[in-house]
Symmetry: none
Subunit: 190 residues, 4 copies
DNA sequence: GATGAATGAGGCTTCATTCAT
DNA sequence: GATGAATGAAGCCTCATTCAT
């Protein structure tokens, strides 16, 4: 039996990629990522056939990670407001606790190297939340906007909110709820 | 593109950079930009000492351009809602009419190569609009959020709205006003 | 290809190397050869200390193989023409039936990685045929050319002939005999 | 006016490539070639977009070079034998005087990196000689073999002859004429 | 001023070989 | 013995920048 491929190594590379891309953008070198992962440069290519694949896998993993954070404790039977608020809080909390993940995600999102397929797959596996968001839009004043509008909006508003939280950590909690109120008002019924 | 006259060369390079960066991201090569500008490779460096400077200058120019669009016809003496709506419409219109500028802007905004100073300078020169935005926040339910919050929020929400407009051009006008209502509701007084 | 039994592994690797080198040249990767042999990457190096040795061994094996084809049914007591014709036919038939072997051979022959020693050894073990070839030269009009001349010439002319056969399979048989006549005339007595 | 592209540099690279490929095969590194040409590695790619192109251009140049040697002093109005002998002598002389060119040519010829188009183009521009070769075949005993047969055969037999010449330089002249007699006999009328 | 040829550092990727299991 | 994960040197190529003309 050969040396078994340590599942850790793949994870280490993704972790290192998150950090490095957060700092240097998608232009971060594979050498730099490998080094940050304490792995030989060639090893990176045993786990990911090329840089594009690494980028796309990372996008996928980050989405998954974010989703886990959002799904944990999701109040499936709670009121619409409760459910939406859970999503908001979970997302903002995830973003604030994992600044590198959040920044890497931003870089990947605007990169032309993430394929459409990857982006589409990134939407899936998040049914409860998606449903809540769609109900939210459908019952609110933006009822005829595309279904993805609310989710995109949440991301965008959360991003803005987090920028304020980072700028003034003392008021972070307050900003988080204020941000939520803004989001809720933006789309809720008149 | 014909060879630009001497005085135009700088502008031609910036125009070419906008287009090229919109397509290829910040990684676009200086040679590619020079070619798109119908200018010699070396000439680019007579107008910009290095690529970073070109990137920062471009960011600045794009902000200026956007601002001009917003200032033109600004209803200084109109109601707050009129003024805010003007900003919203002007921004969305600018973004839809100049997709390359908008995409280049997005790329630059997330790039680590734009300095903090450039970002700060990008805020200035937009007093009427800024003042309107601050009044808007101050008088609304987000009164204790940082002053930049509303502007950032507008940008973010407009981005989301434009994505919907691009996806469904037939409803573009409707989406633009729906987006504005959402924005207004997000921050206006309860 | 099923995983070969232990004893066959060396043969399987050589077989795979023939095919792979025929297609990709001497630059074919050891990993690719191992895969084609349905053998682990590392296993290749248990049978051949390094790639150069593999190449040289393969050259040797192919020569041996070709020789077997030529020796089978060799008319030891036949006329000189009969014997020479047997060599010609056997060689051309071998080349046409084993295009991969022939192509691999060509690649190896021009490669700088085959040592002089390997090349020399490649000549041996073919006494009857060699003797016939030497008689042929000695009694013909090229009597003072080096002994290897006739064999080399045969190879070269057969190669040319096979190219024609491949290009026009319908006339293959005819080309084979025409080629032989050319070879015979080239060196036979005036 | 920028520094003009010195025509010499391209030639120097091709010269260096000839030498390096003759020694190391098509696997010769671009770095090695650049170094042998006393040129920066990047410069090589200003003259040839990639290694494949360099290889194909080199093939073309070598064919051209060989052709010049063959065309010089071609006895257009001489007897068929005179013309064929001129071709033979010119080719063998070229090969013996330019061993690197000849060896590089052999490597390129068997390489899969030379495209079919390049090979075809390599045939052209050599009309007088081609015509002579075709007459030779048509009037001889191989009259129904493909037109390219005689040229290929000449190359192959010349190669073999040159190997003998290199092995025994003292008899080089003798071998050259003996080789020609063999070639002539191979295809001439019975 | 303008040009684009020249450069070499650095990027991504492949690969022969080693070695823990 | 067999395996394939791990490695880092080396390969091809790109690119920002310089500088002779």
């Amino acid at each position: 039996m050969p040396r078994p491929k340590t599942g850790d190594k793949r994870a280490a590379i993704l972790r290192a990629a998150t950090k490095t891309i957060a700092e240097d953008g998608v232009g971060a070198s594979t050498a730099g990522i490998a080094k940050a992962a304490a792995v030989a440069e060639g090893s990176l290519f045993r786990y990911f056939p090329d840089k594009d694949r690494l980028l796309n896998e990372l996008y996928r993993e980050l989405k998954l990670d974010m989703r886990s954070a959002m799904i944990a404790g999701f109040p499936v039977t709670g009121s619409l407001r409760k459910r939406i608020q859970h999503i908001w809080n979970a997302y903002v909390t995830w973003g604030m606790e994992s600044p590198a993940k959040r920044r890497a995600m931003m870089q990947l999102t605007v990169s032309e190297r993430i394929t459409d397929q990857t982006r589409q797959e990134g939407q899936s596996g998040f049914e409860d939340a998606t449903e809540a968001m769609q109900q939210f839009v459908a019952r609110g004043k933006l009822s005829d906007l595309p279904p993805a509008f609310a989710s995109d909006l949440l991301l965008a508003m959360a991003e803005t909110t987090m920028a304020s939280m980072v700028a003034n950590p003392a008021k972070a909690d307050h900003y988080r709820s204020a941000g939520f109120e803004a989001f809720w008002s933006a789309a809720a019924k008149k």
